[in-house]
Amino acid sequence: MLWKDKYELGVPLIDAQHKELFRRVESFLQVLRSAVSWDEKVQKVNETLEFMKGYVVEHFRDEEEYQKSVGYPGYEAHKQIHTGMVDYVLEFSKQYEQSNHDEQLIQQFGGRLLAWLINHVAAEDQRIADYAIKKGASGNEG
């Protein structure tokens, strides 16, 4: 399973969204890496990619709202990381469509997404939780 309990931040809304994101990414990777032909999996891959484009933006927005609510000092830098990832996903999506759904491109995307997501949640997001806990505003009560 891709999700690990150590990734939990102690903020119910954000944790729930992270779990959903990991669940979707895991399902995406399973389809992407399955042994069936590309023609058989391309539709499922495309559906998941479309979902991710919307869900990632929604999650980043909620997470940024949370950072503002606790006065997280790394808000601007974290927002830039989110913006960079959204730009990458949108740019990739455009290239992928223009390539008429090239499998090599989406395999590259999948590899980067996997490593990026794990690092982002395990390292970058954890700093928000550390700050909130120190400040006594982790949101566990919510």
Partner: protein, 149 residues
């Protein structure tokens, strides 16, 4: 300078391996001990107060182990997915190093990772090559940097 820089890379690698792969024990040894016939080499360009590149040499077995641990899936050969995933890890380690350097007033930026070969014959002011050993395999780091004029 060379030792500090090298230590920053070791610390960043340890940190990233711990957080992303749940591997807390790493050790380093001279690059001469690094023996590998089949590897994936990823270069990260560096600009700013330091110029040049850092090459991460991942043996195929280490690359596959890293992606297997991250994904919980079984990868048996290096393909576009595996290369992209380990390139991102090289990018993350390098980003962590730059953050550490910026705390010492060293202002650098990194370029996107690219798969490379080891045939660069240029000489650099700061050259260091060390091997990092972990429970899922070794990695060799080639640091090739010049100070900005």
């Amino acid at each position: 300078m060379k030792d500090n820089l090298y230590k920053a890379f070791i610390d960043a690698t340890q940190n990233v391996f711990n957080l992303m792969l749940n591997i807390s024990e790493i050790s380093d040894c001279p690059a001469g001990d690094f023996k590998c016939d089949d590897e994936v080499d990823i270069a990260i360009g560096v600009t700013g107060d330091l110029n040049g590149k850092v090459i991460y040499r991942f043996p195929v077995s280490t690359s596959l182990n890293m992606v297997n641990v991250m994904s919980g899936m079984q990868f048996d050969s290096v393909d576009a997915f595996v290369t992209s995933a380990i390139s991102e890890i090289a990018n993350i380690i390098s980003g962590n190093v730059l953050s550490a350097l910026s705390e010492n007033d060293m202002d650098c930026d990194i370029l996107p990772p690219v798969q490379c070969t080891l045939d660069d014959e240029k000489t650099y002011e700061i050259e260091a090559s060390r091997c990092i050993s972990t429970s899922i395999g070794e990695i060799c780091l080639d640091i090739k940097l010049n100070r900005a004029a």
